[in-house]
């Protein structure tokens, strides 16, 4: 299979901050790869380098075999970019926006008009086509933004947090649109903080932290790195937490963790649902009352937690405040 994206030894620093410390990954043509990591892990920097917006300090980045550093213009004819902001003109209508970008992609007037119509219909924006963007909802703006990035029929699409800030319904709508694109053979590199999103859309994921790749593979491969199933028990009496931990040693396949705040014992196990039955029996014997018990399969969130020691959606408060003020400025 041909490689749509090839990244090796990519490094980038901003002053003293090392945003990328030499990352390597590849994306096969026609697949979706999720680029995961918390804020500041280097996701956006990677995408900006691949989309020719930023120059790397060292290392190689190639799109469809073309080096982004030496032939940026050629790369630009093959890519589409949807960033964290809806990058469309506020004062134009949806149709005018798409025609503008079509013209800048050097389609003929007729071709841009045709392509705009096609995309407006496909993205469910036909009714709003001749209204100014100012009146569009957040979901509509993102859809128009995605449509704009598809004007030139890119073979590689970069989606940088395409659903950040969207309500759940709009998010599902975006997912459907992205899935239909992939079905048509577009290669997608998707960055997201929502692991659920990567789980849903991506066939493989690359996990970044502090500018390095800390894991990569399919969702199942990543999950199996964390271990298999786990029995999670919430005890009714908080003081019995350590007793419960001791009682469950015999069903554990690894180290037992406790979560004091939630009064929860987390037991890795390989026994499947039989372990739940066994856990109930053991706890009953030890006279520990159970508030809740469940068998859980690991999620990508667990992968993240175990790889980095923190949750993916955890943000530094200052970063949040900064994002808010930027959003405020935009509105």
């Amino acid at each position: 299979m041909t490689l749509a994206i090839e990244v090796s030894g990519l490094q980038k620093s901003f002053g003293e901050v090392q945003a990328l410390r030499g990352i390597d990954f590849t994306v096969e043509q026609g697949t979706v790869v999720g680029l995961l990591g918390p804020n500041g892990s280097g996701k956006t920097t990677t995408v900006r380098i691949l989309a020719t917006l930023l120059k790397a300090d060292s290392g190689i980045a190639k799109v469809s075999g073309i080096d982004v550093n030496s032939s940026p213009d050629q790369v630009r004819t093959m890519i589409g970019l949807t960033g964290q902001y809806a990058a469309v003109d506020e004062y134009l209508t949806g149709r005018e926006n798409l025609q503008l970008f079509g013209q800048l992609f050097h389609l003929s007037k007729k071709q841009s008009a045709q392509r705009a119509d096609e995309l407006l219909t496909r993205f469910d924006l036909a009714d709003a086509a001749d209204r100014g963007i100012k009146g569009y909802s957040g979901g509509m703006r993102r859809r128009l933004d995605l449509a704009a990035s598809l004007i030139g029929r890119p073979s590689v699409l970069f989606l940088d947090e395409p659903t950040t800030g969207l309500d759940p319904r709009s998010r599902l709508g975006m997912w459907e649109v992205i899935e239909s694109l992939v079905a048509q053979g577009t290669t997608v590199l998707l960055t997201t903080q929502y692991l659920e999103e990567a789980d849903q859309l991506a066939s493989r994921s690359v996990v970044l932290d502090h500018g390095s790749v800390i894991a990569q593979g399919t969702s199942d491969e990543l999950k199996s790195q964390v271990g298999g199933d786990r029995v999670e028990v919430v005890v009714e009496v908080p003081s019995q937490l350590s007793q419960a931990k001791d009682a469950l040693v015999s069903i554990a396949s690894g180290e037992i963790n406790t979560n004091d705040a939630e009064h929860k014992v987390i037991v890795p196990t390989s026994g499947g649902s039989r372990s739940v039955v066994e856990a109930v029996r053991l706890l009953d014997e030890a006279k520990i009352s159970i508030a809740d018990i469940a068998l859980r399969r690991p999620t990508l969130d667990d992968v993240f937690l175990s790889l980095t020691g923190r949750s993916a959606e955890e943000e530094k408060p200052e970063v949040k405040a900064k994002q808010r003020s930027r959003r405020g400025a935009r509105a």
Partner: protein, 288 residues
């Protein structure tokens, strides 16, 4: 390579530069028609200055030291000054828009398209020039209403307007360059204007240079705004105070050439700087 069905191969040609520039200019001109308020306020400021100086402050300023028919004289002196000032304020007409584009991510979209990098700014400055020409037309009409007249030849008058348009165009490139270095539209709004005020006031726009303290006179004389205003007064055949018509200093004698030279030098410096800043600009100056 199976890139795409549309045969968009990269070919850097002059045709593309023109196509892209026109497409971007069209975008901004559409924007002017969608938000006519912005044009209205761009117009109202110079018109207010005309009225303020023609009827309020003008009486206190005398040209050439004599008081006779001073008010009418002053109005003819004033209008080319306001032209020059308006052209300087052309900076502000673009700075905020450029910073907004950069922060909203639409500039990233432009930069990720196979278009010529100069075209985004070229189109924006072209639309800004269009707006400034509209403002100069309205201002000329206001001038005629308060008693200003063109007393020179048609050729000189046309050269005068060409000078104003060239200067305005150069100023929009300075505005674009400033806009690309500003963190937010709010800051851009202030930074675009802050340095223009002292520059236009330490000039012969409103008052003859002879009335200024001696240390300020050479500065005011060489000030690009003064050169522009003096050149316009010469080209439109409007009154020039004795001090600026004494033939003793270089900027007085060669005001027209000086004004063109300033405009072309600004263009030669700031157009490449702005294009370079455009190529490397990060969203909102963001790091990652």
């Amino acid at each position: 390579m199976t890139t795409s069905e549309t045969a968009t191969k990269y070919r850097p040609t002059l045709g593309w530069l023109i196509n892209d520039t026109i497409a971007v200019a069209k975008r901004h001109i559409l924007k002017i028609t969608r938000v006519p308020e912005s044009l209205f306020f761009a117009l109202i400021q110079p018109v207010m200055f005309v009225l303020l100086f023609a009827f309020v402050f003008g009486g206190a300023i005398t040209l050439n030291g004599n008081g006779a028919s001073a008010a009418a004289d002053y109005r003819e002196y004033l209008i080319p000054g306001i032209f020059a000032q308006t052209v300087m304020f052309a900076v502000a007409s673009i700075t905020v828009g450029i910073t907004e584009d950069a922060n909203r991510g639409i500039m990233d979209r432009f930069r990720s398209l196979p278009m010529r990098p100069g075209a985004v700014l070229g189109g924006h400055t072209l639309a800004s020039l269009f707006q400034n020409i509209l403002v100069l037309i309205i201002l000329s009409i206001t001038g005629l209403l308060v008693g200003w007249r063109i007393r020179s030849s048609v050729a000189d008058a046309l050269l005068g307007y060409l000078l104003l348009a060239t200067f305005a165009y150069a100023m929009t490139w300075i505005g674009a360059w400033i806009g690309l270095h500003m963190p937010s539209p709010e800051v851009a709004g202030t930074a675009g204007l802050a340095w223009i005020f002292p520059l236009t006031f330490a000039s012969n726009v409103f008052t003859p240079i002879a009335t200024m303290p001696s240390w300020l006179q050479p500065i005011a004389l060489w000030n690009p705004v003064s050169c522009l205003a003096l050149a316009c007064r010469k080209l439109f055949g409007n009154p020039i105070p004795v001090f600026e018509n004494s033939g003793h200093s270089f900027p007085e004698v060669h005001a027209v050439q000086m004004a063109f030279a300033y405009a072309l030098i600004f263009l030669a410096i700031f157009a490449p700087l702005a294009v370079r800043a455009f190529k490397t600009r990060n969203v909102g100056g963001l790091k990652a």
